[in-house]
C-alpha cells in the first residue's frame, strides 16, 4: 500500500467522538529510573551512509541559480495587533495523556494537539484564510522554492529558529526526522511507510546547515504541502533514541519549536498527580516577533484539567473554572442547557458565538458494505438511501443547524461536485427499489421479505455512542419502508476494527479530514482496498472467489473498474483542472453506485466562553475547526476578576451572542 496523497502526518483516521475510556490508564511510573545510557550516533551515521542515495550531501554551490524563492510576505498577517500577552487558559481534557510521545502507541490522543498539532512550528504553514490555491506563510523556513520540473522543493531555514532547549534548528534535524520516521523503533508503521524511501520522497539533499531540498516521487499539485508541512525532529534530544523508544520516551517532553513546554517541575509533578497537565510559555520564544506569529499563542500558561464527563465539564465551566464552556456543538447544550436567555448569557458574563468555517467536512454517513450478499444488490442500497430520513435528523434532532452532506467529499471548494444532491427520504421510491430487488411482501412484523423468506434486516454498526439518538431516529423511520436496522453500538476502537475488516452490514462512521487541496479517492473507493483479487484476468469481471481486504478504508467494498482507472489517473495527474474533471466523474459513479449514504455536515463550530476571552476581529480564520486551534485568542485577566465578582453579585455587562458568517458556504 505504498500510496501517497496528502499532507505529511495526516492519515485518514477514525473520527473519535467522546470516547470515554472506561479503564483507567495504568501509566508506567518509569521516568528516568533505571534507564540505561545509550548513544545512537554511530548507528545513525551508518544508516545515513548506507542510504546515501536518500540522505544526500551537496555544497551550497550546487543550488540552482534560477530558483524563485518565496516567503509568503505578500499574505495578510494572522492574529490581531490588539492581542495582549499573559494570563492563563484553563481548559479541559477528557483523559490524562497516556504518553508524552507524539507517535507510537497511545500517542494519538486528545492531548496531542497541545504538544504537537496546534503548537509545533512546521517549515511553513498553510495560510488559513486563503482557499482555492493554497498559499504558505513561513514557519521554520525563511523561504522556499519550488521546482516542478525537477519535482523538488528547496528550503532555507530561519537562522533564528530554535528548539525549546536552546539548540538551533538545522538541516541535521531534518535529516534526523527522516531517520526517526523510517525507524521501526517508533512502532508506528504508517509513518514508516509515509516517510519511507521512494514512497513520497526520493531524497533529502543538504547544502549547508540551513539549506536543504527534498525530492518528490511525482510532481503533484500539492507538492508544497508534501514538503512544507514537514517538521524536524531535534537531533540532540534523540541521542539515545533506540529500540526502547516507546518506553524510554514515554514521559519525556520532546523539545518543541512552538512556544509552550512542559517544565521539569511539571514533568516531576505529573508523575504523581494525574488530575491535569500545565504548559508554560517560553519567555523568549524565537518567533516572538516574527510576522504571523507575534500576535498568537498569547497566554503565559495553559492549565489542562482532566474532567471525564461532558455534563461535569459543563458545570465546572459555569462555575468559572474553565474558560470555554464545552458541549456547545450539541443542540441540547446550545439551546437547552445554555440558552440565549440563560442568566449568565443574559447578563453578558458568558458570550456565545457561532463561527461558520470552510473546511473539508468529515464524512458522516452510512457506509453500506456491498460485499454482503443482499447489500450487493444496487437496488437494495438505493432503497436504503430513500429509507434514510436524514432530513428529520437534521431538522428535529440537530434543530435545523446542520445541513445534509451531498457528495463523498464536501467542503473542497470547486473540487467538490457542485450539482450532486443526496437522495431525500422517499417511501415510494424506497418501495420501488426494494420491490425491484425482490422484497415485495411485508412479513407479520411489517419488515419486507423476499421469496426466499429473507428479511430486509441489517445491522447498523457504530462506535459513536453519543450519536445513538440519530440511529434510533433513522431506525424508526426505516421501519416505515419495511427496512429493519438493528443498531449496534460498540466501543469506538472495536467498531472501527470491525468495519475495517469489512465484517459490517452498514456502518455509521466518519473519516476525519484535514485541509487539503483536493479529496482522496484511492483509500476509500479503489478495488485494491476492497478485495485481494478483485477481478478475473480480463480486469473487469468480478472474481467470484475474491475475499475482502482487511485493514483498509474501503468500507463500501467498492470495486468498479471504471472508477479504478479514474482513481489511478487522478493520483498521478499534475493538472488540477484535469483532476477536477475526474473528481466530478468519480462522484457521479459513486452516486450511481449508492453504497455511501451521505449524512450531515456541521457548517460551523459553536462556542461559549467567559467574557475575559478575547478574539480578533472576524473571530477566527477560515479553516479553523475550534476557537483555540490557531491560538489567536488572548485573555484579559483583569476582566476575569471583574467578571467573577459580578458573577457572585448581580453585575451585568453587554450581552453578546454573535454569529460570524464571512466564510459561510451553506445556505
Amino acid at each position: 500500500m505504498n500510496r501517497h496523497r496528502t499532507n505529511p502526518g495526516s492519515r485518514p483516521t477514525a473520527l473519535l467522538l467522546l470516547g470515554a475510556a472506561l479503564f483507567a490508564t495504568a501509566c508506567g511510573e518509569g521516568g528516568e529510573d533505571a534507564v540505561e545510557a545509550y548513544d545512537n550516533t554511530e548507528e545513525v551515521e551508518a544508516y545515513y551512509a548506507a542510504n546515501a542515495e536518500f540522505f544526500r550531501e551537496a555544497s551550497p554551490d550546487d543550488l540552482p541559480d534560477d530558483l524563485a524563492w518565496e516567503d509568503g510576505s505578500d499574505l495578510p498577517e494572522l492574529g490581531s495587533p490588539e492581542a495582549v500577552r499573559g494570563g492563563e487558559l484553563r481548559a479541559r481534557i477528557q483523559d490524562f495523556p497516556r504518553t508524552l510521545r507524539t507517535m507510537g502507541p497511545d500517542a494519538n490522543s486528545s492531548f496531542r494537539p497541545y504538544i504537537l498539532d496546534d503548537m509545533t512550528v512546521r517549515l511553513a504553514h498553510l495560510h488559513p484564510d486563503i482557499a482555492g490555491t493554497h498559499r504558505y506563510y513561513p514557519g521554520l523556513a525563511e523561504a522556499w522554492a519550488m521546482d516542478s520540473d525537477g519535482q523538488r522543493v528547496y528550503v532555507r531555514l530561519d537562522p533564528d529558529a530554535r528548539w525549546s532547549d536552546g539548540n538551533p534548528v538545522t538541516s541535521d534535524d531534518m535529516r534526523f526526522m527522516f531517520y526517526f520516521f523510517q525507524s521501526p523503533h517508533i512502532q508506528d508503521p504508517w509513518y514508516n511507510n509515509w516517510y519511507g524511501k521512494d514512497v513520497n520522497y526520493t531524497d533529502l539533499t543538504v547544502y549547508d546547515e540551513r539549506t536543504f531540498s527534498i525530492g518528490l516521487v511525482d510532481a503533484r499539485p500539492n507538492m508544497a504541502a508534501l514538503v512544507l508541512e514537514l517538521y524536524p525532529k531535534p537531533r540532540e534530544f534523540h541521542r539515545d533514541f533506540g529500540p526502547d523508544f516507546v518506553e524510554r520516551y514515554q514521559w519525556r517532553f520532546t523539545p518543541t519549536t512552538g512556544p509552550f513546554v512542559l517544565t521539569d517541575d511539571e514533568l516531576e509533578g505529573i508523575r504523581t498527580d494525574r488530575t491535569g497537565v500545565s504548559l508554560e510559555r517560553l519567555e523568549d520564544w524565537w518567533a516572538d516577533s516574527k510576522r504571523n506569529w507575534r500576535y498568537r499563542y498569547n497566554p503565559d500558561r495553559i492549565q489542562l484539567t482532566v474532567i471525564r464527563d461532558t455534563p461535569k465539564a459543563f458545570e465546572a465551566a459555569l462555575a468559572g473554572e474553565l474558560d470555554f464552556i464545552g458541549g456547545m456543538g450539541l443542540a441540547e447544550y446550545w439551546y437547552d442547557q445554555l440558552p440565549d436567555d440563560h442568566p449568565l448569557v443574559e447578563r453578558g458574563l458568558i458570550h456565545k458565538t457561532t463561527f461558520y468555517n470552510d473546511v473539508p467536512r468529515p464524512t458522516y454517513g452510512l457506509y453500506i458494505n456491498a460485499a454482503q450478499p443482499i447489500l450487493g444488490d444496487r437496488d437494495v442500497r438505493l432503497g436504503i438511501h430513500y429509507a434514510s430520513n436524514w432530513q428529520l435528523v437534521l431538522d428535529q434532532y440537530f434543530r435545523g443547524d446542520y445541513v445534509r452532506m451531498n457528495t463523498t467529499a464536501d467542503g473542497y471548494g470547486d473540487m467538490t461536485h457542485p450539482d450532486i444532491r443526496a437522495r431525500a427520504f422517499d417511501l415510494a421510491k424506497a418501495a420501488e427499489h426494494f420491490d425491484e430487488a425482490g422484497f415485495t411482501q411485508r412479513g407479520p412484523d411489517g419488515i419486507l421479505v423476499n421469496e426466499q423468506g429473507q428479511r430486509l434486516s441489517f445491522t447498523l454498526t457504530t462506535g459513536y455512542e453519543s450519536l445513538a439518538p440519530v440511529l434510533n431516529i433513522l431506525r424508526q423511520e426505516a421501519l416505515k419502508a419495511g427496512l429493519e436496522l438493528q443498531v449496534e453500538i460498540l466501543d469506538s476502537a472495536t467498531a472501527w476494527k470491525k468495519v475495517q475488516e469489512k465484517n459490517h452490514d452498514i456502518a455509521f462512521t466518519a473519516f476525519g479530514v484535514g485541509v487539503e487541496l483536493y479529496p482522496r479517492y484511492w483509500e476509500f473507493y479503489h478495488s485494491a482496498n476492497a478485495y485481494d483479487v478483485p477481478y478475473l484476468e480480463d480486469g473487469s469481471t468480478p472474481n467470484p472467489d475474491r475475499s475482502p481486504n482487511p485493514q483498509t478504508n474501503n468500507f463500501l467494498s467498492t470495486a468498479i473498474p471504471e472508477l479504478d482507472a479514474l482513481i489511478d489517473a487522478y493520483d498521478t495527474s499534475d493538472d488540477l483542472d484535469e483532476m477536477r474533471e475526474m473528481a466530478y466523474r468519480m462522484e457521479e459513479i459513486l452516486y450511481a453506485d449508492g453504497s455511501f449514504v451521505p449524512g450531515f455536515v456541521t457548517p460551523f463550530y459553536r462556542t461559549a466562553y467567559w467574557r475575559w476571552m478575547r478574539f480578533p476581529e472576524g473571530f477566527d480564520v477560515r479553516f479553523s475547526g475550534a476557537p483555540t486551534e490557531y491560538n489567536l485568542y488572548w485573555i484579559d485577566e483583569s476582566a476575569r476578576t471583574e467578571t467573577m465578582e459580578a458573577r457572585r453579585g448581580d453585575g451585568t455587562f453587554p450581552r453578546s451572542v454573535t454569529s460570524y458568517d464571512q466564510w459561510r458556504t451553506t445556505p
Binding site: E332, Q396, L427, G443, G446, A468, L471, L490, D491
Partner: protein, 350 residues
C-alpha cells in the same frame, strides 16, 4: 394440589402475619401481573378498532398497514391519528379504543417537532413527560420494568439451578470432588463479571440472553457455598443414612431428601438476588454496556436523566422513583421471608 407440610404452612402463616412484607409481595405481584399485559395498558397500538364493519385487535395481532384503514401508507397504522380521524368523521360506527397510555416505548410522540424532553402533560397522556428523543417516559419505565424483571427472574433461575446443583453435589460427595470444585470456584469467582460484560458487549451486539448468560456464569458461585454446607449438615443426619440403606441413589437422596430440608436457606436469598439482578442490569445500561438501543431500560433513562438533570428533572426522577419503589418492595419481602423462616423460632430441635 400441592400439600405443604405443617412446617412450611407455619412459615407461610408467619410470613402473612408480617404485614409490611406481605403487602409488599402483593404489590409486587400486582405490578408483575400488570407488566405481563403492559401492551394492553401502555401501547401505541389500539386495543380494538372497528372499521367498516370489521373488528381488529391490533395489540397482539402485530403489524397492520395503514392501507387497511384507507390511510394511504403501507407502514404501520398510527392508531392515535386513526382515532382522531374517525372521531372527526362522526357517527359512522367506526371507532378506535386506545390503551390508557396511548404511547409505545420506542415511538416519537411529537412528530414534526424538535427532539427534546417535554415536561409531564396529563392531557396529552404523557404522565411522566417525554425523554430526549420524544419518547414517553412512563412507557419506557413500564417496559423497562418488564425487562428488568425478566432479567431478574432469569438470573435467579440460572444462578439457583447451577449453584444448588453444584453445591449439593459438593456437599454430598465431599472429599476430592469437593476439594477440586472448590478450588475451581475460587479461581472462577476471581474473574470480575463486570469486565467480562464490558468486553463482550463492546465487541458484539448484546441481547437479554447474552447478558443473562454472562452474569449467571459469573454469579452462581456464591450460592454453592451455602448449599455445600447445608448439604454437609443434612448428610450427617439419620434420615439420609436411612434412605441410603434403603438403596436410594445419590440423585434421589439429594433431590428428594436433602434439598427440601435445605430449601429454607435458599428461599431467604431470593429477594436479594432479584434486587441484585435489577441493580446490575440498570448499572450496565447506565454505563452503556447493557441492552442495545432503543430497548427501554431504567439504566438508559437514568443516564439520560443525569445529563439533563437541570433541564428535564422528570426523566431522572421517574426512573429513580421507579427503581426505589421496586427495590424497597423487594427488600421488604426479603426481610419478611427471612424472619418467617428464621430457625431460631421454628426449630424442631430445641
Amino acid at each position: 394440589m400441592i400439600r405443604l407440610d405443617p412446617l412450611a404452612l407455619k412459615k407461610l402463616r408467619r410470613f402473612k402475619s408480617i404485614r409490611r412484607g406481605y403487602w409488599s409481595l402483593v404489590a409486587l405481584v400486582v405490578m408483575l401481573a400488570l407488566a405481563c399485559v403492559a401492551e394492553l395498558l401502555v401501547n401505541h397500538r389500539a386495543l380494538v378498532v372497528r372499521y367498516e364493519g370489521e373488528l381488529y385487535f391490533p395489540t397482539y395481532a402485530g403489524f397492520i398497514p395503514g392501507t387497511e384503514f384507507d390511510l394511504g401508507y403501507a407502514y404501520e397504522t398510527n392508531y392515535r391519528e386513526l382515532q382522531e380521524r374517525l372521531e372527526a368523521q362522526g357517527n359512522s360506527g367506526n371507532f378506535v379504543v386506545m390503551p390508557l397510555i396511548p404511547y409505545g416505548p420506542l415511538e416519537n410522540a411529537y412528530p414534526g417537532e424538535f427532539f427534546m424532553p417535554r415536561s409531564p402533560d396529563i392531557g396529552k397522556g404523557h404522565w411522566l413527560g417525554t425523554d430526549t428523543q420524544n419518547r414517553d417516559v412512563l412507557a419506557r419505565v413500564v417496559y423497562g420494568f418488564r425487562y428488568a424483571m425478566i432479567f431478574a427472574f432469569g438470573f435467579m433461575a440460572g444462578v439457583y439451578i447451577l449453584g444448588i446443583l453444584l453445591g449439593c453435589l459438593m456437599g454430598y460427595f465431599g472429599g476430592g470432588f469437593d476439594l477440586a470444585v472448590q478450588r475451581l470456584i475460587e479461581i472462577w469467582s476471581n474473574i470480575n463479571f463486570l469486565y467480562v460484560v464490558i468486553i463482550a458487549t463492546s465487541i458484539i451486539r448484546p441481547n437479554l440472553g447474552l447478558l443473562l448468560v454472562i452474569t449467571v456464569a459469573f454469579s452462581w458461585t456464591a450460592m454453592t457455598y451455602y448449599m455445600r454446607t447445608a448439604t454437609y449438615k443434612e448428610k450427617a443426619r439419620d434420615y439420609v443414612a436411612a434412605a441410603q440403606v434403603l438403596g436410594a441413589g445419590p440423585g434421589r437422596v439429594i433431590f428428594t431428601h436433602i434439598l427440601p430440608n435445605t430449601v429454607s436457606t435458599i428461599v431467604t436469598f431470593i429477594p436479594f438476588t432479584v434486587a441484585g439482578a435489577i441493580t446490575a442490569l440498570t448499572a450496565l445500561d447506565f454505563l452503556g454496556f447493557g441492552l442495545p438501543p432503543p430497548t427501554p431500560s431504567w439504566g438508559e433513562l437514568l443516564k439520560q436523566g443525569t445529563q439533563t438533570l437541570k433541564t428535564a428533572p422528570w426523566i431522572v426522577s421517574s426512573a429513580f422513583t421507579a427503581m426505589v419503589i421496586v427495590l424497597t418492595l423487594v427488600t421488604f419481602v426479603g426481610e419478611a421471608i427471612r424472619e418467617a423462616v428464621d430457625p431460631k423460632q421454628f426449630t424442631l430441635y430445641e
